[in-house]
Amino acid sequence: MAKYDAIVIGAGHNGLTNAAYLARSGLKVLVVERNPWIGGAAVSREIEKGWMYSNCSYVCSLLRPELFRDLELARHGLQVVPYGGGVSITSNGDILGNYTDEQVQRREFARHNPRDADAYHRYSTDVMRQCKFIRPLLLRSPPDPTSFKPRDLREMIFLGRELNKFGEQFIYDTLRFYSMSIADFLNEYFESDVVKCHLSGSGIIGSAMGVYSPGTAYVLLHHYMGDVDGSIGAWGFARGGMGAVSKAIASAFKSFGGEIVVDAPVRQVLVRGGRVTGVVTENGTEYEADVVVSNLDPRRTYTKIFDPKDLPPAIVEKAKNWKIRGSSGKLNIALDGLPEFPALGKDNPLAYGDMHFLDSLEKMERAYDDWKNGTWSKEPYLDLLIPSMTDPTMAPPGKHFMSVFVQYVPPFIHGREWTDADREGFKNTVLDQIGRYSPNFKSLVRHVECRTPRELEAEVGLTEGNIFQGELTMDQLLFNRPFPGYAQYRGPVRGFYMCGSGTHPGGGVMAAPGANAAREILMDLRRPNIVPEGWSDD
């Protein structure tokens, strides 16, 4: 039986980051992955010959720059290319585009509503201030507010001080920001429905809430707090698809002497005398270690790979109640050419970014109602990108790859499994919507990979296909993530840790949970801390 210092279950980007730091500290580390490939939901796969699909996560921004530098991911082959543009197209053919030049952007907003143009400045300042507050906290473990341990008290005081730095009004704004609906939040700034729709998409992506649901303003922040090369809020493509992120982290891990076995689904975490002793895979191979780290989501971790008698019953109950609702789907499309969008005209640089087809907040909320009623949205919110325009390595010359993220798609149809007819219906709903804005689109479609939450669960292992490993609502954020009392990455069994997006600070290819978990493990093993703290932006 092979003996290791630590075993990480799952080679997602967080598992790999966690493993990389443990290995770098000098530990003998093994990563076990059930798929024949690594990366979890940060993968590039050649489903159609010649095309590289980022078939789950598709854009990069939240990846912590501290970790990018510290693990020398650039040297390990990761290149993040920022993309510009981005546009919302309305059904009457009008557009609202994103521009980098402030004056141009202002004119674009003013075209829709002059007062909104003024408000946009105020809005960006407010949101940016929230980003500045939260960014340095991403690479810290959340304190337990019920604890009197010096470390938790210190951390609480630190948080209070950080808040105080921004002043009294900021504290109130923060309380409001974290609890409001994105619609109410935007209503405080803007009047034009198109402007509000254009900005509200980030509040619902990946979330089982509608634009009118209180709590969605935070989800928006979650999508804004990243950066590309220090440009906060910017998004980019990992060259070669999102698999490049996992590959680079894996390469760093291996350079520290780490080992990865693929095709090795874990059957059970072995526990003896109240502490972990290793894992056994489906084919019966046992690996021994005193530290076991799970990159899986909390539900899967505590209901699938443990013998329930090794766990406190309350934990199993909490895992069952963990809100991990699938709400998103995806179409990955191979195109024989570049589709035209008449609303944009030819060669419009706006087409390099995210495209949306929007009219009103009401239409977006109705899309959520469909999901609540157990079916995919009949007028879904799409986040459509053509990465091959920026990164030609993703498709053969002259051809293109289109990534279409779809909100909302339920994990079950009226409580039952998806059928092929449902899948076909869902696919056509999305293709039809795009076709309405691009007449030549359908004729260019060569291959479509249709991914409902079921495919995401079956392939990546995310329960119900939730892209964040658990809803980003207040009961599941900060010291409540994954469960109150377990937010500092330690599990209920000695030697067991969690490192996935189901822990603080959540999903979005940040790698922060993996790094934070590594810091806690090294602390428990009484080894020096080598995991970087968050930077301040100033």
Partner: protein, 521 residues
């Protein structure tokens, strides 16, 4: 004493009256000016059809602060209870009605596990509601500003949460910001039970069971019981009796109350208030003006935005005030008979909310400006407890109907008759023949409540009770301590902490703020 020492209170709602009573007891000259011919604001008993009287807006008392009732001796000023501790009867189409009292299922088919879970749930929610109740009579602390006393206030709040104990504190911090749907789904199986419990979390709000903030709204509702009230009660003479008793207490302490005296505007001298001007042109000079009107009406209407800083005006404009609850009043020629409901239960609180999906669907329609196709109802027949409300042998039915949009897509008249018809249909399904017993009816949409009770948006809390409009954020951050940014102007209504629900706390806290300001001057 000169005119200048006078305190004018705009509006004789229950909070205005409580505020008046406390200030008069402290020896101040207090004049209350009320636009309506009677006192009470939304806590009022009024005739809606010849011989039929009903509580016009709020129809059950559960939040009245026991401390205020004691201090102002409301009992000796005439407040009597016709009925306390009402049970909740969740009507079921099949006749298998659920009867709930506190954490107990008194009858109805509910799995054993759910009965046990309900006892735990109720006890836990009450413990959490006690934390909320402890804040009722405190001025909300400022966070990160205002010096030592404010820090102490914030510490006190932290201490109240801490002393729940570790397990409870964790659970409190987990659920306080989320929705009732998720909480109930974790603990119960019975759809009927979940429907009835969820209704309490969304009554009078702009929330469906799946909307976050609904747990907070439930805790607010339960905070009355946590403060020592015996659940839901009906005063003798309707809700107006509470206002009458408060008015009597205020008068006894020396306050003057003038009804039919609508205030046109609050007057200023320099940057301080100098009094008010009535609709008739009469001026009443005052050193201090306390407004029981809602924040928008007070600051943008009576005072005028031009006297305020733009950022502040912007925030007040965005204080969310649109109500989503309608009020139904029926004059009945006889007591309706509900299918398979024993006679002694007809006088309890009857609810129609068969499951959470029903509620959520009812809510969905209202999001888009439509009245719920299948509304949820909270029904009482107060004439069973209080004969004075209806002619002998006849009855009056009072119901809250969910949901009705503030600004319906259809015209107000269409929406009104549509919702009335649907509410009657829902009632008739459970009490066949009820429709034929109706001799007069009245349905007040939120817009009607706005008109009748002068509450902007027609929201019975003066503004949505949500985390972003709660405590130090109510009505808007920076003005949550009753004193407004204009010298001598205070708010004392439900738009301030701790919110609506006929409690009197906002009135008393505002009185304390006025007195504290005088001391500091």
């Amino acid at each position: 004493m000169t005119d200048r020492d006078r305190i004018v209170i705009v509006g004789a709602g229950h909070n205005g009256l409580a505020c008046a009573a406390y200030l008069a007891r402290a020896g101040r000259e207090v004049v209350v000016l009320e636009a309506a011919p009677q006192v009470g604001g939304a806590a009022v008993t009024r005739e809606f059809a010849k011989g039929f009287r009903v509580s016009g807006c709020s129809h059950l008392s559960y939040l009245l602060d026991p401390g205020i009732a004691r201090e102002l001796k409301l009992a000796s000023h005439g407040l009597k209870w016709a009925r306390t501790g009402l049970k909740t009867v969740a009507l079921a189409q099949a006749g298998d009605h659920l009867v709930l009292r506190g954490g107990k299922v008194e009858s109805g088919t509910v799995p054993e596990a759910d009965r046990k879970a309900l006892a735990e749930y109720h006890a836990r929610m009450l413990r959490f509601a006690r934390v909320v109740a402890r804040q009722h009579n405190r001025k909300p602390p400022r966070l990160g500003g205002g010096g030592r006393s404010e820090m102490l206030g914030a510490a006190l709040l932290g201490f109240d949460i801490r002393r729940l104990g570790r397990e409870d504190m964790r659970e409190f911090l987990r659920i306080a910001g989320i929705n009732i749907y998720d909480v109930l789904e974790e603990q119960f199986d019975s759809p009927a039970l979940k429907g009835a419990l969820a209704l309490d979390a969304v009554l009078g709000t702009n929330l469906g069971p799946r909307s976050n903030n609904s747990v907070l709204s439930l805790l607010h509702r339960l905070s009355g019981e946590a403060a020592g009230n015996d659940g839901l009660s009906i005063p003798e003479g309707g809700m107006g009796a509470i206002s009458e008793a408060l008015a009597a207490a205020a008068r006894a302490a020396g306050a003057t109350i003038r009804t039919s005296s609508p205030v046109r505007r609050i007057t200023l001298e320099g940057d301080r208030v100098s009094g008010v001007e009535l609709e008739g042109g009469e001026k009443v000079a005052a050193q201090t003006v306390v407004s029981n009107a809602d924040p928008a009406r007070t600051l943008l209407g009576l005072l005028g935005a031009r006297h305020l800083e733009t950022g502040f005006v912007h925030r007040i404009r965005h204080f969310r005030t649109k109500g989503m609850a309608a009020k139904l009043h029926l004059a009945l020629e006889a007591l309706p008979s509900f299918a398979r409901l024993s006679a002694e239960l007809v006088g309890e609180r009857l609810v129609i909310a068969p499951d959470m999906t029903y509620l959520e669907h009812a809510f969905d329609a209202a999001k888009y400006g439509q009245c719920s196709p299948e509304p949820a109802l909270e029904v009482t027949i107060p004439s069973l407890h209080d004969k004075s409300l209806a002619p002998a042998g006849k009855h009056v039915l009072s119901a809250v109907v969910l949901y009705a949009p503030f600004d319906p897509r259809a015209s107000g008249d269409e929406a009104r008759s549509e919702l009335l018809d649907r509410a009657l249909a829902a009632l008739d399904r459970h009490a066949p023949g009820l429709r034929r017993q109706v001799t007069a009816s009245e349905l007040l949409l939120p817009a009607d409540l706005e008109r009748e009770f002068r509450i902007s948006g027609g929201h019975w809390h003066h503004g949505e009770l949500a985390l972003d409009q709660f405590m130090m954020l109510r009505p808007v951050p920076g003005a949550a301590q009753y004193a407004m940014p204009v010298g001598g102007l205070f708010l004392c209504g439900a738009g301030c902490h701790p919110g609506g629900g006929v409690m009197g706390s906002a009135g008393r806290n505002a009185a304390n703020a006025v007195l504290a300001m005088e001391r500091a001057a």
